[in-house]
């Protein structure tokens, strides 16, 4: 899969069901987006593992075991409510949204652009840039544009 649609759904559902940790397919994009979530404090750990559970020690992903490989995210709850309420995709297969650096700045400041609403206090937008997958504020700091992947709140 080429998008974060699966990850968004799994993370949202996991939080709603009050799960302790969730297993997500192990792909480069999923790992990158999970890293952003971890840095922003929505998720307390990201671990490689199998479909049964996280690995105790390092196990390389090979052609033989790739079907069982997963990424395990440990979910966070604070004061009896989930830390992440909503995670939605912005770019969809039917409509991909790419912006340049100026448009990132307006979005990060809270102003809407095109069909994308501005970033609310407490919200993050995960973007894919030439420098990698990161949060929109980091992209603004670098002064680069990219593709809007998802929005987490």
């Amino acid at each position: 899969m080429v998008g974060v649609y699966d990850l968004c759904a799994r993370v949202q559902n996991g939080f709603r069901a009050r799960l302790g940790r969730i297993a997500v397919p192990e792909t480069k994009l999923n790992l990158a987006v999970s890293r952003v979530l971890y840095n922003q404090g929505f998720v307390s750990s990201v671990t490689r593992g199998t479909h049964v559970g996280p690995d105790e020690s390092y196990v390389p992903t090979t052609n033989l075991n790739v079907a069982e490989r997963r990424l395990w995210l440990t979910l966070k709850y604070y004061q009896d409510s989930p830390v992440l309420r909503k995670m939605r995709c912005i770019s969809k297969p039917s409509r991909k949204i790419n912006c340049d650096a100026n448009q990132f700045r307006t979005l990060a400041a809270g102003q809407a652009w095109s069909i994308v609403k501005g970033v609310n206090p407490g919200e993050i937008i995960i973007v894919s840039t030439t420098r990698g997958v990161m949060e929109i504020q980091d992209a603004v700091r670098y002064g680069i544009g990219g593709n809007l992947l998802a929005r987490a709140n």
């Binding site: 922003q40 404090g41 966070k76 604070y78 830390v83 609310n120 206090p121 407490g122 919200e123």
Partner: protein, 308 residues
């Protein structure tokens, strides 16, 4: 010992132990004192009463306390004693909980006050001081005539929804039903005051962030706005903002605009706000208010607390 005294001896409280009742009485032929029997009978009577609690059965406790006092007197060899001090000492020694001050309070006129119109009824159990109650903003927003259909006909009653707030972050709504509108409003006001709780505001003037909330068939969108903007929202929401103390807000109601449900939606929506301090703790971030730190904080153009 005779069978009579043996029967009474079983019900004596443990603390008495092997002490004897040293009371001046005439000794009967079979060696049993009249007063002992009377007192034991009183004890027996008091014991057979249902013990509803430490304050309800003061009578029961009274008889035991008298007994202990007499014992104490005997111990002190009948010196002239201050009865009040003696009672205090007995109570302390035997850990008898003293009667609280407000158990048989005769003057309860301070409990309930009727302020002007019969709609405003204050009482102690509202947990709001009288002065504070008078200064609260009470807005009757919905008054409806409801009907209960029975096999004997229509039973009408009046329903009222009142929003109550102190203009400084505390507000709540309450519903009341009664046969006449004034009583319904009174019940609603009291329920509203009981249901008051704190609503977080940014800078004490607006909400923290844009809110989208759906309750029943009412979809509500609220936007935080700059200082001096005003509350550009539907009239019902405007009244609620005045009660809460929100001065800058923009909003739109989609779907059902039923006033009762809109009020409930607004209160629910304002409760879903994400306060930055809680966010910081939940996500482990260091959050700084850009406006206050870097732009010296744009101060509100109006003073915080509206005068009612």
């Amino acid at each position: 010992m005779s069978a009579v005294v043996a029967r009474f001896a079983r019900i004596l409280p443990r603390t008495l132990g092997t002490r004897t009742f040293a009371v001046k009485t005439t000794v009967r032929e079979d060696g049993i004192d009249d007063t002992i029997i009377e007192e034991l009978e009183a004890l027996y009577q008091s014991r057979s009463e249902p013990l509803l609690g430490p304050y309800e059965s003061i009578q029961a406790n009274r008889s035991v306390i008298e007994l202990w006092k007499q014992q104490k007197l005997a111990e002190m060899n009948e010196q002239p004693v201050d009865m009040k001090a003696l009672e205090k000492e007995v109570i302390k020694e035997y850990s008898v909980t003293p009667k609280p001050n407000d158990v048989d309070r005769k003057d309860s006129s301070d409990d309930i006050r009727i302020t002007g119109t019969p709609e405003m009824l204050w009482s102690l159990d509202l947990n709001v001081p009288y002065e504070e109650f008078r200064r609260l903003a009470k807005k009757t927003l919905v008054v409806k005539r409801t009907v209960q259909m029975t096999r004997l006909g229509k039973l009408p009653s009046m329903y009222a929804l009142v929003v109550v707030g102190n203009g400084n972050g505390s507000a709540g709504y309450g519903e009341g039903k009664a046969n006449d509108a004034a009583k319904a409003v009174m019940f609603a006001t009291r329920n509203a005051i009981k249901a008051m709780n704190h609503i977080p505001r940014y800078d004490d003037r607006t909400i923290f962030h844009d809110i989208e909330h759906k309750f029943k068939a009412t979809k509500l969108v609220l936007w935080a706005r700059r200082p001096g903007f005003g509350c550009r929202v539907a009239p019902i929401i405007h009244e609620i903002c005045e009660c809460i103390g929100i001065q800058d807000l923009a909003g739109k109601i989609h779907g059902s605009r039923n006033p009762m449900n809109v009020i409930k939606t607004v209160f629910e929506a304002l409760k879903t706000q994400r306060v930055p301090s809680d966010l910081a703790k939940a996500r482990g971030l260091r959050l700084i208010d850009v406006n206050h730190t870097y732009y010296q904080g744009i101060t509100p153009t109006r003073s915080g607390r509206p005068k009612f």
